[in-house]
Subunit: 334 residues, 2 copies
């Protein structure tokens, strides 16, 4: 089925609902796809006996399932459009993850990226949105004399070659075996994450605009590192820390929070555990702490920290602050 | 214990935790009180064996318990500062409601209100924050020759004389027996609610500023009615409706939503059920509907509707739209 410029396999949803005789479905979609969901509702309600409700709250990924809403409403099934599952995430009710695929020119973007690649062994990584075209990307590289290498992620990763904003294990797993990484997808966060998680050059190819970035990624990495060390420096004299723990099912890291709490307390700091569904700059205004540490999605810190009035650190940045390490590491969820 | 300018009985919290041997507590407070919660955390952690986590997400009342967070975190007890319980609300884990009382001049505000009262039988209503001073308010009225009447609310109301933004049953229960209402508290919503739910004059006395309003309430009521009929009029040609259902435990009205859905569908409208934790104007931008109906807290509609780009109606306003009634009624939760 096509909604907007996205495609997905509607019949899988219909089959799943019919097979189990589900009566009520909660449908969830990322922001860009929300405006098309009425078509999906109509299709389900016409072709099955299920009634569909639409989740309107933000959806940041497969880590962000509306478990509370689903339980509160007593629905039989959650259908999440737009993401692959996180395999090691245990959920308390049936969730059908329906990846959607945008009309994009993945092969062409790989062709355009070729002149910027280094060496012969190329690690190919991409996001869920483009993962169906991975064989084509690989084939373009082979045809052009490269040796494409596709990595396996850890248990948080559904498919070979896939990376998440919070998990670069797929790239890390092949870092030693490749000369360079080719990332196919949009935005700067994923290629930046690969650059931070490995020490190999990263070429980023956008399959919509056909823009290819390489030196820009490195520049961006330097800029980000400067900002992150700035935040760590700003936290040096902090006495009171708020450790933020998310209640999104796939972002909750209470154990990490408790380890950090102990380390910080041992260093003479006062620590409070702050529970949040939505982590935003109002936290820094409401609570009288000198520094916030977010154990939730690392993207919140790396993308949003500048909007906070006080330093916002990742767990691995706290280790640098406490001089437990002097090597900057990307914070990742497993 | 005093936090900021608020008082509450800390020993009740400590006793409850000790009595049950609770190990983990999730502490929740309304926005204005959040900045003082560290003192409460310190007190609990010093005097009991429990570890305390702080809920940072907005808290709109006793209807808004962080059930999801509490379950996700596996805490033993939720402590909510700032509200009285909603007696008929069934919650899936222990919640201790700890009303807090601000330093205010309730008696003085009643004295100041006297000259604006009408008749002799005065219905006295107030909010949780001031309910402890109800005997004093009553006594001032008696001393001045009035016959104070204190109403009983329905099962949503914890204390005689108390009103909620979503429930004016306490005022309605004595409406026939009084000449006029005296509301002691802040803000315009509650006195406006009383004016909408009864047809008696309402005098509103602010125990912080000692400001007394009467004609202003009536003016405000007229203004609000004009706006609400404007919204109903604007929805006349709407073809597609989004019925918003909240997942906050005390605001979820799926039955109401299903009744509305049927009525609207019988009137030839297309209806989608939209599930929301937070109801905000982005709903109107994201979903292609002509009109939104909120079954959640009526205050969302009455306070916020103007921020929405399309008409936002209460369930009772839909009845007017569908010409099932021609009498405006305050939407209330029971």
């Amino acid at each position: 089925m096509k909604i907007g410029s996205y495609n997905f396999n509607m019949s899988l949803i219909l089959d799943e609902i019919k097979k189990h005789g589900y009566k009520t479905v909660l449908l969830q979609a990322p922001e860009g796809v929300k405006k098309y969901v009425f078509q999906v509702v109509d299709e389900i309600e016409t072709k099955t006996k299920a009634k569909v409700m639409i989740s309107t709250d933000p959806c940041y990924g497969a880590c962000d399932i509306p478990v509370h809403a689903a339980k509160q409403l007593g629905v039989d099934l959650v259908v999440q459009l737009g993401h692959l599952p996180i395999p090691n995430l245990k959920l308390p009710l049936p969730v059908l993850f329906m990846n959607i695929v945008a009309d994009a020119r993945e092969e062409e973007s790989v062709k355009k990226a070729i002149e910027k690649l280094e060496g012969t062994k190329i690690g190919v990584v991409t996001t869920a949105q483009h993962i169906e075209k991975l064989p084509q990307m690989v084939s373009v590289l082979k045809k052009n004399g490269f040796i494409p290498v596709v990595g396996k992620g850890d248990n948080r990763i559904a498919r070979d070659g896939q990376v998440l904003g919070c998990n670069m294990s797929t790239a890390q797993s092949i870092s030693d075996k490749v000369d360079c990484f080719l990332f196919v997808g949009t935005g700067r966060f994923h290629p930046l994450g690969i650059a931070l998680a490995t020490s190999k050059p990263v070429v980023s190819a956008n399959p919509f605009t056909l823009e290819v970035l390489k030196s820009e990624i490195n520049e961006e990495k330097k800029k980000l590192m400067k900002k992150r060390y700035g935040a760590i420096a700003a936290a040096y004299n902090a006495k009171t820390f708020g450790i933020v723990v998310s209640v999104k099912p796939g972002q909750m890291r209470m154990k990490t929070a408790r380890v950090l709490e102990k380390k910080l307390e041992n260093a003479g700091k006062k620590v409070y555990i702050l529970i949040a569904d939505d982590i935003n700059p109002s936290l820094a205004k409401t609570f009288d702490v000198d520094c916030l540490v977010s154990t939730a999605c690392p993207r919140v810190v790396l993308d949003e920290a500048e909007r906070f009035e006080i330093p916002l650190l990742t767990p691995t940045e706290v280790d640098i602050l406490l001089e437990e390490t002097n090597k900057y590491k990307l914070d990742t969820l497993q």
